[in-house]
C-alpha cells in the first residue's frame, strides 16, 4: 500500500468540521453509513457474504479442508482467517504479497471470531489425532471507501453462519451446517479532527490519526481490541467509545440475526 500524501488542507478542513460537530459526509459523530448485507452470494464458497457500508464493499468466503490436528491439540480442528486487499479495491492499494495493513486486517478479524468462541473447534474434529476440519475464511475487498475492518468482520461472521461443511465431497459423512453459537461484532473508531468518530470514510482515514477496533460478543464481553496508527488517546476517550460500541454492536447483531 502506498501512503498517499496527506493534504494539510484536508486535515485542516476535518478539524474545522470537528469544531462544529460535523463530518465531511454530513454524518453525526456516532452515525454509521447505510449497511446492506447479503449471504450465499458466491457459488463456489461453502459460506459467503457481501457487505456494503456506504461505498465500501467487501466479500467473505468460507472454505473447508481436511487437516491433521496439531500434536498438542489432537481433538481440535482449525480456524484461519485471512484478508487480502488487492488493487481492485482502490488506487492506493498495490499488487504483491499481502501488505502489513492487509495482514493486520485479517488478524484483528480473526481474533474477534476466534476468541468469542463462536466456533467450537472441538466439534470440527473427525478422528482425534488424525482428521479434522479446517475452516478458512477469506476476506476480500472490492471497494475501499474506509473502515474495511468493520465490513470484513461483519461479512466474516455472516459467511460462517451460513456455511455448510462439505462432508460428502470429502467422503466423511453427510453435509451439515457449521455450528456457530455466537455473533461477535466489531466496531471501529477513528480520531478525526481531534475527536473519535464511528465508521470513518476514506477521506476521514486519510486525514485522521489513530484508530481503535473493538469486538464485543453477545454478552458485551470484550473479545478483541486493537489500536492502529500513530496517535495518543485518553482513558476517558476510550471509555466513551466502549460505551458507544455496546449500543452499536447490538444494532448490528440484530441485522445479522434477521438474515
Amino acid at each position: 500500500m502506498t501512503i498517499p500524501i496527506v493534504p494539510k488542507l484536508l486535515r485542516a478542513h476535518l478539524s474545522g468540521l470537528a469544531g462544529k460537530n460535523a463530518r465531511i459526509d454530513g454524518r453525526s459523530q456516532w452515525e454509521g453509513r447505510k449497511i446492506e448485507v447479503e449471504h450465499s452470494v458466491l457459488p463456489r464458497a461453502e459460506g459467503s457474504a457481501r457487505v456494503r457500508m456506504g461505498d465500501t464493499i467487501v466479500l467473505a468466503g468460507a472454505k473447508f479442508q481436511l487437516m491433521q490436528p496439531y500434536p498438542d491439540r489432537p481433538n481440535q480442528g482449525g480456524l484461519m482467517c485471512s484478508a487480502d486487499v488487492r488493487p481492485i479495491a482502490g488506487r492506493h492499494w498495490e499488487a504483491g504479497p499481502p501488505s502489513p495493513e492487509a495482514i493486520e486486517l485479517g488478524r484483528v478479524v480473526d481474533r474477534g471470531i476466534r476468541e468469542s468462541g463462536c466456533i467450537d473447534v472441538d466439534s470440527l474434529c473427525i478422528i482425534p489425532g488424525e482428521k479434522a476440519w479446517q475452516v478458512i475464511l477469506d476476506l476480500f475487498a472490492v471497494s475501499d471507501d474506509g473502515n474495511l475492518f468493520d465490513a470484513f468482520a461483519l461479512a466474516g461472521i455472516v459467511a460462517l453462519r451460513n456455511a455448510t461443511l462439505p462432508a460428502e465431497r470429502f467422503e466423511v459423512g453427510e453435509d451439515y451446517p457449521l455450528p456457530v453459537s455466537k455473533t461477535p461484532i466489531m466496531c471501529s473508531y477513528h480520531k478525526v479532527g481531534g475527536r473519535f468518530v464511528y465508521d470513518a470514510c476514506a477521506r476521514e482515514e486519510l486525514g485522521g490519526d489513530e484508530r481503535i477496533h473493538i469486538t464485543l460478543g453477545d454478552d458485551d464481553n470484550v473479545h478483541s481490541l486493537q489500536k492502529g496508527l500513530k496517535g495518543i488517546f485518553s482513558a476517558e476517550e476510550f471509555s466513551e467509545i466502549m460505551t458507544n460500541a455496546q449500543g452499536r454492536t447490538k444494532e448490528l447483531r440484530k441485522i445479522v440475526d434477521s438474515l
Binding site: 458466491l42 468460507a62 488487492r86 488493487p87 481492485i88 479495491a89 488506487r91 476480500f140
Partner: protein, 239 residues
C-alpha cells in the same frame, strides 16, 4: 484437455449436460459502475463464473522508469480469489494467472488508444470471485466493458468466447464438465464491429473442419454478447 473420450457428454437428442444445444451460450449478466471508488468497473456473470473488474486511471505512472514518452502503459492483473474454486485457491500469483494477465494485456493494448495519454498509467484489475470454465474469456470481456465505463477511448470493445469439442461434437462456450473432459478448447478475443481478433489460444485436437466450425461458433456468440455489453453500458450511463 482431459480427453476422456468415453465420457458421455452429449445425450441422444444432441443436448449437452446442462441442457444446451451445441451452439448455445450460458446465461450472462453485465453490470457497470459496481465499484464506487474506481474510475470504471464491471461485474459480469457468465454461467456460474463471476468476474469483477476495476479500472483506475489514466493516472501518474510511477516509478518514472516505467513511463513511456509516447503513450500510456497498461497494467493488467488477472487473479482468482481464494474462494472462487471448489478447492480453495492459495492466494498469490502463479504461472497460470501470470500468463492470462499477459495475454489479456496484449489483447487490450490492441484496442485502447494509449497514445492519447503519454507518460501515464491505466490499471486494469480482473478478479475472478467465482470460477466455472472460461474465466479468461469472462475477464477479458468484462475488462473491455470496465474500460468503456471509465471513458477510456478504444477502437472497439473486445468479446471473448471459447468453443471446443466433446464426444467429437463441436460446442460453443464450454462449461466446467465439458472443459474438464472435452477434447479441445479454442478461446478467442473478437472485435465485434470488424470481426478481427486480438486474442487467440487453443489446446486439444481439432480437424480443420471442426476448427472452422468452432471459429464460427465464437464469431456468432460474439455478436450476441456484444449486444448485452452495449446495453449494459447504456444502462450504466443513464443511471
Amino acid at each position: 484437455m482431459g480427453g476422456y473420450g468415453d465420457m458421455q457428454m452429449i445425450d441422444e437428442n444432441g443436448l449437452r449436460v446442462d441442457g444446451r444445444s451445441p451452439g448455445d451460450i450460458r446465461d450472462i449478466t453485465i453490470e457497470t459502475g459496481v465499484i464506487p471508488v474506481a474510475d470504471g468497473s464491471c461485474r459480469m456473470t457468465w454461467g456460474t463464473n463471476e468476474a469483477i473488474v476495476a479500472v483506475y486511471g489514466p493516472m501518474e505512472a510511477h516509478p518514472r522508469k516505467i513511463q513511456r514518452q509516447d503513450r500510456a502503459v497498461l497494467d493488467v492483473a488477472y487473479n482468482m480469489a481464494p474462494f472462487s474454486t471448489t478447492d480453495r485457491m492459495r492466494p498469490g500469483f502463479n504461472r497460470r494467472s501470470r500468463e492470462i494477465s499477459k495475454v489479456t494485456k496484449d489483447a487490450l493494448e490492441s484496442v485502447v488508444l494509449l497514445e492519447l495519454y503519454p507518460r501515464s498509467k491505466i490499471r486494469v484489475t480482473i478478479e475472478i470471485v467465482s470460477a466455472e470454465a472460461g474465466t479468461r474469456c469472462v475477464g477479458l470481456t468484462a475488462a473491455s466493458v470496465a474500460l468503456a465505463d471509465a471513458g477510456i477511448p478504444m477502437t472497439d470493445l473486445v468479446v471473448s468466447v471459447a468453443s471446443g469439442k466433446i464426444n467429437d461434437v463441436v460446442v460453443c462456450d464450454l462449461n466446467k464438465e465439458e472443459d474438464n473432459y472435452g477434447e479441445a478448447d479454442l478461446p478467442m478475443g473478437i472485435l465485434p464491429n470488424s470481426g478481427e481478433l486480438v486474442f487467440l489460444q487453443m489446446d486439444g485436437d481439432l480437424s480443420q473442419e471442426e476448427f472452422k466450425e468452432a471459429w464460427q461458433y465464437n464469431m456468432d456468440a460474439a455478436q450476441v454478447v456484444h449486444k448485452m455489453m452495449v446495453e449494459a453500458l447504456k444502462r450504466g450511463d443513464s443511471q
